[in-house]
């Protein structure tokens, strides 16, 4: 997906970088993503949509409304295709959306937004939702095949506690898995129910964190799975990933609850791993310094 730096986007729109940043503050659009160095990266589709809207707009506000409306049309097209149970049509909508948006944006702003709307309209156990959930999981798996190896070498274990392939939680888990596979940490997704020989998998994967995703497994199953993972891989930080989380931490275990937006959840996992590593390094350094201090005290 093509992105533009602030200077490039400003030149494309023929305005100054300061003007572009003032639009972000005042109108919330175009909303850039951040590079690893925290520089603004504008999506090419957002910038071109805005440029076209500015040509016939009466104000920046109205041009931005027009541009956003155009970008949102992907959701309504996808809703139309899924409501017609047209998997090929839904694939086509996603292909055309990917020409304008990043994969993260396409997944969050179009695919998951359309699924939420279908769920609100028809209810979670309806035929349109089950069809859409299965199509979305399938699309996300296919998109995963195009992923390249992430720069972040750490791995995570995702304990899949979704109901089945028709569960909307499952779609969010596939989305998180996809974004992690693209930008790290490398995910290993396993079901939480009745899993034997988990140590074999973890001896190869070496995870740095455990994510329990979904809410359709019993507490016993989740506890057994978490125990199995931690027995094989050591004391890992545990996080929960759910649709519409109620709070930031689980009261009973203190486990952190991730954002239900997959891109934000993926960033939180990376932060958690970095914090956990930093804590481990500090503990190791302290442990190494302690015998030295004891030797110097004895010598003194």
């Amino acid at each position: 997906m093509r992105t533009l730096k602030t200077s490039e986007a400003a030149a494309f729109l023929n305005v100054s970088p300061n003007t572009l940043r003032s639009w972000e503050r005042r109108f919330g659009f175009p909303q850039p993503r951040r590079s690893p160095g925290q520089h603004r990266l504008y999506t090419y589709g957002d910038v071109t949509a805005l440029r076209d809207a500015l040509l016939s707009g009466l104000s920046i506000s109205s041009a931005i409304s027009v541009a956003q409306e155009g970008l949102r049309s992907g959701v309504s097209s996808l809703l139309g295709a899924l409501a017609a149970f047209d998997a090929a049509g839904a694939d086509e909508v996603m292909d055309s959306t990917l020409a304008l948006r990043s994969l993260d944006g396409t997944v969050e702003d179009v695919l998951l937004a359309a699924l939420d709307q279908i769920s609100e309209r028809h209810g979670e156990d309806s035929a349109p939702v089950t069809f859409a959930a299965r199509w979305a999981s399938d699309w996300l798996r296919r998109a995963g095949r195009l992923s390249y190896a992430p720069a972040e070498r750490a791995g995570i274990v995702i304990g899949d506690a979704s109901r089945d392939e028709f569960d909307l939680d499952g779609v969010r888990i596939r989305a998180l898995e996809l974004l992690c596979a693209r930008s790290g940490p490398t995910p290993l997704c396993l079901p939480v129910r009745g899993l034997f020989a988990i140590g074999n998998a973890l001896s190869v994967h070496t995870p740095a964190a455990l994510v329990i995703a979904g809410r359709h497994a019993t507490d016993d199953d989740v506890a057994r799975f978490a125990y199995g993972v931690r027995s094989a891989a050591g004391a890992l930080p545990i996080t929960l990933y759910r649709r519409k989380p109620e709070s930031e931490r689980l009261r009973s275990s203190g486990a952190r609850i991730l954002s239900d937006a997959p891109a934000a959840a993926q960033r939180q996992i990376l932060e958690l791993i970095a914090a956990s590593r930093a804590a481990d390094e500090t503990a190791t350094r302290t442990a190494e310094e302690r015998p030295m201090a004891a030797v110097s005290t004895a010598a003194g």
């Binding site: 305005v15 016939s56 707009g57």
Partner: protein, 163 residues
């Protein structure tokens, strides 16, 4: 020349080119640089697009004004207009004009209904006309509103000033 036939050709009147003035739809300033006319984004405040109107109806930076389309939706609101109506432009744009202003009928002749005038101006067919308006749901406060045309695209320019 013998075979050539002379004929009278109907020549239409050349349309009178009316001078126009560019102003920013937010700060009302004219463009500082000729090059920005193409992009239309104001090179002074960066928050408005340049619009065009006849010089006699173009607003100045001291004026409160708004731009309304033919559906009576607000499309732009000047900095002074934000202060006068107590709302920011991003919140006002897209809302119906009647959320903010309503005609003060006693001063408006029936033939010049406020919304009728606006519709004519928004489609490019009205001469500048001044009518009385008041803030919606507020009594005892009135302004003059001069309705004229601006663009592109063609819309009504509503300039508010004290009575």
């Amino acid at each position: 020349m013998a075979g050539a036939q002379r004929a009278l050709t109907l020549v239409h009147d050349v349309e009178e080119v009316r001078p126009a003035r560019l102003f920013c739809g937010h700060c009302a300033a004219p463009p500082a640089d000729e090059a920005v006319k193409q992009t239309r984004v104001c090179d002074r405040c960066g928050l408005g697009l340049f619009l065009e109107s006849p010089p006699e109806t173009a607003p100045t930076p001291e004026d409160a004004f708004m731009v309304v389309d033919s559906g009576m939706s607000i499309r732009a609101l000047s900095r002074r207009g934000e202060r006068l109506l107590g709302t920011a432009e991003p919140e006002a744009v897209g809302r119906h004009l009647s959320d903010f202003l309503t005609p003060a009928d006693a001063e408006t002749p029936a033939a010049q209904s406020f919304f009728g005038l606006l519709l004519m101006a928004a489609t490019g067919g009205a001469e500048p006309t001044t009518v009385a308006v008041r803030p919606t749901d507020e009594f005892g406060v009135r302004y003059w509103a001069r309705v004229s045309t601006c663009g592109p695209s063609t819309a009504a320019l509503l300039l508010l000033f004290d009575m």
